[in-house]
């Protein structure tokens, strides 16, 4: 074939459209920097071991030796936050200013200290031991546990631990030489903690996946096939399918403890069991199943609705019983869809951090183990990174199977639309037991949610069931306002960014042709397969020392900005997916005609595309807001005492056993997210013209 000029012409045309080029470039940078790069750093960290040489500190030149901090990062009484200058031993020559971690004999003391030889003599400035640095705070509080007589006192009602006993001479500096090795993986696979966590995670994922699949399938079957007369039951199913969308991930764990824990309302009051132990595998399984089954219910409902009733009627007509029809027609048709739904839940369960954290007890999963490795005293970066890589490989592999194998198969077997309405099952022997079961489960779920506000209102759960507002009062006294403000504002900033980004990405993916489109599509979907904990570790490793440890963008670490970025990354796949499916409905020639009339890419997007997918945009706004407000797994690793996030506070109080305050937070959080959904629906009703547009028939 003759020389092709179309490629070069297309390139010329492409670069003739600066808006498009710049947008794609910016997207490339954003996606690489905030999704790919942190994950890549994880990989690097898991194979990169640092040979370190330690230098101990010989002499304090100036400054106070140790700084103390309160829990929310304010300097404690007489605390000193400035730089200290010390002399190193052995003396080092020719050191440029660089960032180094500072160790004591008990572990990491400061994540970042500044080393410089600006003064005569080799000196060390511990500049970055400041309130922003979460790690320092944890490290200090960890060190305090080895104190023989820790001094504690109260300030503003909060306990402050004062740490003595760390002498400056106990500190040392590490200067690194990087070294590539694969030692970390064999090491963690020999590690008992890791192996247990891995098998725990897989067991949990499998049981939860199967459990929610069964319940979800039953609900879907009852909804689609069985004639339900009662309005109440229908309404109940709707509520149950909406609840997990608006609720923070660990709400059910809280109410599980309230209802079935050691001083649980049901276990102790009703059943009189005094040593009920809900912590552990079965606690998580129950909570996760109840959290995830509504998602499966909605997925499978969509599938069942697509089955043409005449197929089943044909089978019935040839003499098959209802059960036979289900096992020989309905089930085989749904099989890929069931597998798909199972994997979705499996991934969610494996990635879940909050529930195992709160109700897991000693049942550690990968997510919680990684969290402990990062925040705990050991600070085993290699190990934690390697574990994060294992978790990522697990979820990512399953995600690929789910997305590219099962989803396709589902579409292949169930692409047809039902030709007409299905004859609903009226048979009482089927109807009653099935719907009774579903109604019971629904009521149970609703009860679990109802327990939360009461948990906040009762004086002392398990002892004193009189109403009081003391938990709310305590919440507001201890930084409640700040937590709501911070969560609210950060989520509010993240929402429009995510909504707009995901609309732009969907537009590019569906409507444009360019090199690197596959990259954009893949990376923005990849974020769906990345567990929050993994992303959090990736962000720590990627940005704590700046991009590639150069200090570039280091400024965002520990700020609200990095939290906003995490919110955006976590919600991007959801928004993009909805945008893509909305755009696929829109005739390509509508945009082509605007393009043909003389509009450039930017103009086409703002004047035609965006108005047509307004609904998707608005729901992206609300979804991001809700998801960001309820997010915990990634941000808990990144949040600093400067910002209080509602979810992290709930986790904190739940860990301390102060369930009243945790419930007070959760109650208000549910109200906020529910209000966001209500507002979205109202906005859609008022301004969402796209439904009207899409509804038009193609004359």
């Amino acid at each position: 074939m003759a020389a092709r000029q179309s490629a070069s012409l297309d390139r010329k045309k492409f670069f003739g459209d600066p808006v498009l080029v710049i947008t794609i470039l910016v997207l490339f940078i954003i996606l690489s920097l905030f999704i790919l790069y942190p994950l890549a750093m994880l990989l690097v960290d898991s194979v990169l071991v640092r040979n370190t040489e330690r230098y101990s500190i010989a002499e304090l030149v100036s400054g106070a030796p140790i700084a103390y901090y309160t829990e929310n990062g304010l300097p404690a009484e007489n605390g000193y936050t400035g730089a200290i200058t010390v002399k190193l031993s052995p003396a080092q020559d020719g050191l440029e200013e660089k960032f180094v971690p500072l160790y004591s004999s008990k572990g990491l003391f400061a994540h970042r200290a500044t080393l410089s030889d600006a003064q005569s003599g080799k000196t060390l400035y511990i500049k970055s031991v400041n309130s922003k640095d979460k790690t320092v705070f944890t490290a200090i509080s960890d060190l305090s546990t080895v104190q023989e007589t820790p001094v504690t006192y109260r300030q503003n009602g909060r306990i402050i631990k004062k740490m003595d006993g760390i002498e400056l001479t106990d500190l040392c500096v590490e200067l690194n030489a990087d070294n590539w090795t694969l030692d970390a993986f064999p090491r963690i696979f020999r590690d008992y903690t890791f192996n247990r966590a891995l098998s725990n995670t897989l067991t949990l994922g499998a049981i939860t996946g199967l459990g929610s699949l069964l319940i979800g399938l039953l609900f879907a079957y009852v909804d689609v096939y069985v004639h339900i007369r009662s309005r109440f039951a229908k309404k109940l199913f709707d509520v149950v399918s909406l609840l997990p969308v608006v609720s923070p991930p660990f709400v059910l764990s809280l109410s599980m403890i309230l209802l079935f824990g050691r001083s649980g309302l049901i276990t102790r009051k009703v059943l009189g069991i005094y040593d009920a132990d809900i912590y552990g595998l079965w606690g998580i399984v129950i909570v996760q199943t109840l959290t995830f089954f509504p998602v499966e219910y909605l997925m499978l409902k969509g599938l069942l609705k697509n089955i043409d009733p005449s197929m089943e009627e044909a089978a019935r007509d040839m003499g098959a019983s209802r059960w036979k029809v289900f096992t020989t027609v309905t089930l085989p048709l749904m099989l890929p869809g069931l597998g798909n739904a199972f994997l979705v839940t499996f991934i969610e369960s494996v990635a879940d951090f909050a529930n195992p954290m709160i109700i897991g007890g000693s049942y550690d999963t990968l997510a919680t183990t990684i969290y402990v490795r990062i925040t705990g005293g050991t600070y085993d970066i290699n190990g934690a990174s390697a574990m994060a890589v294992v978790l990522l490989v697990l979820t990512f592999g399953l995600f690929m199977i789910q997305k590219y194998v099962l989803e396709k198969k589902t579409a292949a077997t169930l692409s047809g639309k039902a030709t007409r309405a299905r004859m609903l099952i009226e048979d009482k022997s089927v109807r009653y037991p099935l719907s009774a079961f579903c109604v019971l489960v629904s009521i149970f779920v609703v009860l679990m949610y109802v327990a939360i506000p009461f948990g906040a209102l009762f004086k002392l759960w398990g002892r004193d069931y009189s109403l009081s507002t003391k938990w709310f009062a305590q919440m507001f006294r201890e930084g409640g306002w700040q937590a709501f403000r911070d969560s609210f504002i950060l989520s509010l900033i993240a929402s429009p960014i995510t909504a707009l980004l995901s609309m732009i990405i969907s537009y590019l993916v569906v409507k444009r042709k360019f090199k690197g489109k596959a990259f954009i599509e893949f990376v923005s979907m990849l974020a769906m397969a990345v567990p929050g904990t993994v992303l959090g570790v990736g962000f720590i490793r990627g940005f704590a020392g700046g991009v590639f440890r150069t200090g570039f963008l280091q400024g965002i670490y520990g700020t609200g900005l990095i939290l906003i970025i995490v919110f955006v990354v976590r919600s991007l796949p959801v928004g993009t997916r909805s945008g893509i499916s909305a755009l696929r409905q829109i005739d390509k020639s509508i945009e082509e005609s605007a393009y043909d009339m003389g509009a450039g890419s930017g103009k086409v997007f703002t004047s035609v595309t965006l108005p047509l997918i307004k609904d998707s945009f608005f729901s992206g706004l609300a979804t991001t807001f809700v998801r960001s407000n309820t997010a915990i797994s990634a941000v808990i690793l990144l949040v600093t005492p400067r910002y209080l996030l509602i979810t992290c506070r709930i986790n904190e109080y739940a860990e301390k056993g102060e369930f009243g305050v945790a419930c007070a937070y959760a109650t208000i959080l549910i109200l906020i997210t529910y209000a966001a959904i209500l507002i979205m629906n109202a906005v859609l009703k008022r301004f969402g013209t796209s439904r009207k547009i899409n509804g038009k028939e193609n004359a």
């Binding site: 003759a2 012409l9 509508i590 043909d596 547009i693 004359a699």
Partner: protein, 360 residues
């Protein structure tokens, strides 16, 4: 509304487009070495079966696709590297592609607003063009409140109002019902002639192409099979494909017996007939007679014997399928009311005027 701009000519100079076959992964020519020179102000139709390359050709002119070989000129300027929004073309789409979130006025005004035309002029031009397409008073309607024909008019108005150098039509009538289609195509032709604009029209419907165009370009397999005026193509097809595609057609295979100045005598197994030709043939050459069904008469006396295999009353004509030797010949016998009707199995004769037949 008088067109303020001169219509532009379009020239395709050795244009080719290569695609990859998704199944075999091999490259093939979707359009191969197409040369065209469209005179400004004419109405040209790209006609052909699906997969013939007509759509690709149109989309290359609009700029949505880039040619792999050759250069496209619009008004004498090469436009290969221009994006669609920078080309002086306006397209009317198959699905109309109206902006559903705008009303009729805003749809039509879209292109003018992009060109930063002053507001009062936009108002005037939109009003004028809407009256031209007979949609006055519908300015505030949303597009989904319009019938298919009205939507088509809006799409046309939207393309016309920017006064493009060339107007492109991509199967604009295929979503309309049969009656409306006929009405709209005369409408399109009327407006095009009134404005004197260059128009390139893509369709697979040969009767639409016949009735609307100054020139037809018939394509097949990415190459031009024949181009010419509708009558030229109908009466002087250069190949069996063209003859068959452009209308119902009978083929009789024979050998040249004798070739004169204007006519050739062809010998068939059933007898010899004389046919008008466009070039002289050598004796004994294989040849094929192209006969339109309406050019044949069936009667008791005639040139070639036949046997009736189908006889069917079709209101304005009687439809016959007759067997002449091996060949099946279709005949439409107009106004059958006063004529003899032949029935299945009857023996008869067919005859035709040499000038109404064509020799391949």
């Amino acid at each position: 509304m008088p067109a303020n701009k001169e219509p532009k000519g379009v020239k395709l100079d050795h244009i080719s487009k290569i695609y990859k076959d998704p199944k075999t992964g091999k490259d093939f020519y979707a359009v191969h070495d197409v040369n065209l020179d469209i005179t400004p102000g004419t109405f040209v139709t790209l006609l052909g079966p699906s997969g013939c390359g007509k759509t690709t050709t149109l989309r290359m002119i609009a700029g949505f696709e880039s040619p792999d070989e050759g250069e496209i000129y619009l008004g004498g300027e090469p436009i290969n590297a221009l994006t669609p929004n920078k080309r002086d073309t306006a397209m009317v789409f198959q699905s109309y592609a109206l902006f559903p979130h705008y009303n009729v006025f805003d749809n039509v005004a879209y292109g003018l607003r992009l060109r930063k035309v002053p507001k009062n002029e936009i108002e005037k031009r939109v009003t004028d063009i809407l009256s031209l397409v007979e949609l006055s008073g519908m300015e505030q309607r949303m597009t989904n409140q319009l019938s298919g024909g009205q939507q088509q008019r809006v799409a046309l108005a939207r393309a016309l109002v920017v006064e493009p150098g060339v107007l492109l039509f991509y199967e604009p009538l295929s979503n309309l019902d049969a009656k409306l289609r006929v009405q709209m195509r005369t409408e399109i032709r009327r407006i095009q002639q009134k404005l004197g604009i260059t128009a390139i029209y893509v369709t697979h419907d040969q009767s639409e192409a016949m009735s609307i165009s100054d020139n037809i370009i018939l394509m097949r397999g990415g190459v031009i099979a024949q181009m010419g005026s509708p009558t030229e193509i109908y009466y002087h097809p250069q190949s069996e494909f063209v003859a068959d595609f452009i209308g119902e057609c009978n083929f009789l295979k024979g050998k040249v017996k004798e070739s004169g100045e204007t006519e050739t005598i062809v010998s068939l197994p059933e007898g010899a007939v004389s046919v008008a030709h466009d070039r002289k043939r050598t004796p004994n050459e294989d040849c094929e007679i192209v006969l339109r069904p309406e050019a044949i008469t069936i009667s008791d006396q005639g040139q070639l014997p036949c046997q009736v295999e189908l006889s069917c009353f079709m209101r304005s004509y009687q439809n016959y399928h007759v067997r002449v030797g091996e060949a099946l010949v279709k005949i439409t016998d107009n106004c059958p009311i006063n004529k003899k009707i032949y029935h299945v199995g009857d023996h008869a004769f067919i005859s035709f005027d040499p000038a109404c037949a064509h020799l391949l």
